[in-house]
Symmetry: none
Subunit: 255 residues, 2 copies
Amino acid sequence: MLPNADSDRLRVILVAPRNPLNIGAAARAMSNFGFFHLRVVNPYELAFREARSAVGAAPLLAQATEFKTVAEAVVDCTLVVGTTSVGQRQLQHPVRRLDQAARLLSKQLAGGRVALLFGSEKRGLSNEDLSHCHWLLRIPTREEHRSMNLGQAVAVCLYELARDPQASVKPEKHAPAIAADLERLTALLLDALRASGYLKLHPIASQKRRSAAPTEDKIRRLVHRLRLSAPDAELTLGILRQILWKSRKDNDRSQ
Amino acid sequence: MLPNADSDRLRVILVAPRNPLNIGAAARAMSNFGFFHLRVVNPYELAFREARSAVGAAPLLAQATEFKTVAEAVVDCTLVVGTTSVGQRQLQHPVRRLDQAARLLSKQLAGGRVALLFGSEKRGLSNEDLSHCHWLLRIPTREEHRSMNLGQAVAVCLYELARDPQASVKPEKHAPAIAADLERLTALLLDALRASGYLKLHPIASQKRRSAAPTEDKIRRLVHRLRLSAPDAELTLGILRQILWKSRKDNDRSQ
């Protein structure tokens, strides 16, 4: 088993779950394997209330916290990992097999909070959800039947994570940046891209769709891929702020 | 994954299951992990009929066979293993942890049929059931909450059995950026820092030394720490070029 302090840093996040039995089953598996912090994003309200009776997991469910968006639910986490049944989709994310993923998660848990995201029963995680993730994990199932029941997927992931024999590995030198900083960085970078006219020139903008979302997702993914430490995130934020400030000043003067 | 011929020799046996959802969930996990032979001993009849619609597992359930006793259900198996949430009870059986048990089961599956028994939701396997077993396996859970949901216990056991510890798949990744690109990135970032006045404001500049070298080193180290892939380096170079181009244009206009 993981050291208690480490397992206490995991946040299991169910995004838009619909079936109370699955929420209850997820909570029960968490309790079985020693993970106690459940977060639920935008659940079907009735389902969330009905779930509160899962065998042996009532206290855990009573303490579960509810969020409107994935961004809010992961705001204090240094690593955000999504689960997927799909191989590579159109994903720009690396997809790791559960056993390898568990080793990385264990390492990270030694130093900071880690979010493990599970999508809704029908659709899994959306592209917007995925844009908040640093990388994805996949439970190795048969090609022909990849989609697992939500409660069972949670149980298998937590089993693998709890049993990790490597459990205590050294944390990284600097604490990784928290999601809130990465979100600020994404917003600033988007501002800089707009101010410089970059978005007008490059297909990244997907102007055809008349929506900023794909660009925003793409930039967020880029920022997450950088795996910034907390000090580097701060440094980068400072650089971007200064570049933007100068760009606005020049712009004002030239008008 | 196990060789198909081997996984085809496993018999998953549910003894006296009561909840159709659990029977369905067990079948779905079997299908996910490539085990197709389900046997059910003395089920609550209605539950067994209702289970037949589990997502993606209908054919498997339709072929499930029903037995009156454990003795009949295991009659063609060379190894019979029971699952238990209890440590040693009054059991005279050896109890193995799932990961060790799975290795033994894999070996045995190479040569003969193996039965894996799961007890009913409420009581687990009875002493009479256990008397048919060669040994027992236990999923390593918290002492304080050992009892797992039936469908989740099946999923975890089959995951462990199906996964081949030898198969190590590397995450699919892009080639890392070459040093020349990182050097270009460093130079551009320094230009942007100078153009924006950042270097004058921040100690990173080490102005006292009247030398750009420490700053350059610091920025180069930052760029290297990002561990950019080749496509991400190209993307970032493009962004920086555009920001610099705009900044120069504004600057020219304002002078």
